[in-house]
Symmetry: C2
Subunit: 394 residues, 2 copies
């Protein structure tokens, strides 16, 4: 046949640094990073920060300015841009356009850097703007939430929402570096802090049994926001995510999606709750549902299913919120199954558990068993609450 064939590989590499107080003058990490990448070209760096972060860290902008006064490897763009934190930043396309405009006005070219400091939402927004400006400005991520430090901020995806559709616009574009600074986590509220833990439980359940048992042994410490335990959790979870990305299909051209364990119902729940339930909270509920379903359909032992429910409860996740309960076959949650199937392009693929640490793909779910699983979780929580109050009394 009459054709030419093109074939090449592109190598991507970057490091995820773990540090405390990244912008303290005595911390050479960031300055050393730039020294390690010398360049004949004039390089600028433009910072964009999550408004939720600057609110709790009012001296951050000053600290950055002072830091780059000392570090002359790159030229700090005098404006430090603040964008609203959370999903709002991904819903407002004007914010995206203003970032692109800043690239234009400040003359930020492909030798230069755009750094984002914030939660997963702000990182997704800024990462997208960086990825498409001049076909890709070098991007540095400084994640400030548990979720973004262990998952969203260390990976290769970015995106914004469009007409209410999550991540409708985005690219696969690895950062040049990620700096995880544990001091940022101190100012998170309890819900945001906790909700980042559920993705760690999820990845442990499908890939790393030891990690799950470690979490099980540290639920009290994690619930009490012990920094050392959290640092360990973030690092181990980050490593699992990195290996997953590197190992399989970094830019997700295939259709296997093991990391979607617990997610088909979570997506629907977030939507049903009008996004008052956080993603991580919904994922905790979804993990509970699919774990018990795995037990009821004979894949997983009851003991293992119960240990999973126990860990989720001990971390204070509400896994039997009335909103998640599947009372009958007319339940709105069940619609999530069809929507997830459509989202996957017509072929339903759901990961279930055969053991702690091992997943198995199935292509259908039985509605009646889902109803039973939901009832089982409601029962478990009642007992468990009863148990807890007995413990308290004793």
């Amino acid at each position: 046949m009459n054709y030419l064939e093109q074939s090449f590989s592109v190598k991507f590499d970057y490091k995820i640094y773990f540090t405390s107080s990244l912008f303290e003058l005595g911390n050479p990490l960031l300055a050393d990073f730039f020294k390690g990448r010398p360049s004949a070209a004039l390089r600028k760096i433009f910072f964009v920060i999550d408004g939720g972060v600057t609110e709790k860290h009012p001296n951050l902008q000053e600290a950055i300015k002072t830091y780059f006064n000392q570090c002359q490897e790159v030229q700090l763009v005098p404006e430090i841009r603040i964008v609203p934190g959370g999903e709002a930043s991904k819903n407002d396309t004007a914010l995206f356009e203003q970032l692109v405009e800043a690239v234009n006005v400040y003359g930020i070219d492909r030798h230069s850097y755009i750094a984002a400091i914030g939660g997963g939402a702000v990182l997704d927004l800024v990462g997208y703007a960086a990825a498409v400006s001049h076909r890709g400005i070098k991007h540095i991520r400084i994640p400030t939430t548990v979720l973004s430090q262990n998952d969203s901020g260390i990976g290769v995806k970015n995106g914004i929402n469009y007409k209410g559709k999550k991540n409708f616009l985005g690219t696969f574009a690895p950062p040049v570096a990620v700096f995880n600074d544990d001091r940022f986590l101190e100012t998170l509220n309890d819900r945001d802090y906790r909700s980042g833990i559920s993705e760690a439980i999820k990845v442990a359940l499908i890939k790393d049994p030891e990690f799950f048992y470690w979490i099980e042994a540290h639920t009290a410490a994690l619930a009490a926001r012990d920094p050392e335990s959290m640092n360990y959790l973030i690092r181990r979870c980050a490593k699992l995510h990195l290996d997953h990305i590197a190992g399989d299909d970094p830019f997700e051209t295939g259709s296997a999606r093991p990391l979607d364990f617990g997610h088909w119902s979570a997506h629907k729940l977030e939507q049903l709750s009008n996004f008052t339930v956080l993603h991580g909270e919904a994922v905790a509920m979804g993990i509970a549902l699919d774990s018990v379903y795995s037990f009821l359909t004979g894949l997983l032992s009851e003991e293992k299913a119960l240990r999973i429910l126990q860990v989720l409860s001990a971390l204070n996740f509400s896994i039997s919120d009335p909103i998640i309960q599947i009372k009958d076959s007319g339940s709105a949650i069940l619609k999530g199954l069809a929507e997830f199937q459509e989202h996957l392009g017509g072929l339903l693929t759901i990961t279930l558990l055969t053991d702690i640490g091992s997943g198995k793909e199935v292509h259908e779910m039985d509605h009646q068993q889902l109803i039973n699983a939901s009832a089982y979780i409601a029962g478990f929580t009642k007992e468990n609450t009863a148990l807890n109050s007995i413990r308290h009394e004793s």
Copy 2:
């Protein structure tokens, strides 16, 4: 130091098919392409066509509909979108938004395809919309100009303009396939037809001396639009581009840009002419200038420089348009040098010739020698015109 390291490679491969009458029912190429990529998911295909193409090929939309009536591997989206041809398509961001909206409305997901038929500008627009929708819809390119079949349409870049800045927004995103159909070239006007040849001359001059001598031997056939010669030129030029992309730095993370030979002045010329001079025409002028400059600064023999000028003239490129002439050190063209330097991030890198087929990078250019080169070209053209009229008379 405290870090995790991420490292992975992503493999990209696609074929560039050469055919005639792609949508003729008897041509199985496109249907076979889809048969060769079976999928359990429902796949759609959305066509976007250059208005300049539909104008000259009024039956094209019907032909596509008939073709996909027979080929049930993918489901044709009933609307076939027509967008204005040429740079206008890249200047109007509303067109980009309308494409994204179509992806939304027609439910085109990552299993589906967006196909673009048109010149380089329309391919760049559609390629960008495909690349960022759902983080990348599979994209098929069907280039219809000489330039897009031998260069822009077969590579890995896309983009749109923003506030008058060329390709300000874009990504590196390889297509899943390219179909070069030579029948489209028949309806190009002479200027568009010719201007696509200059990038072939450029790449021959820096990489492939034999190809240059082949072009030299076929200037008359190419000027007369002989299809067989043009097919050979496109295929060989496409191969050189593909090898360049695969070999060096596919996503251009470094700063070497050998394919920018002849381009520093070309960019300025397009701008000075208010874009009445086509890119390929400007590149022809730029090649002439840098080739003679290479001779005057002792890198290239005069004989070789003259052969280059001769080839450009024989193809009817106006290489001494008054607009390109550098009369003195106040010439606007010379500003192009500083702008190109800025564009490169501060370090000027210009490719010159040491021989036909071999380039050499330099980091400065002498203004006086550029003035001399310009005068030399003006003299050459005069003589050459005289020569031609003598030949005509005899």
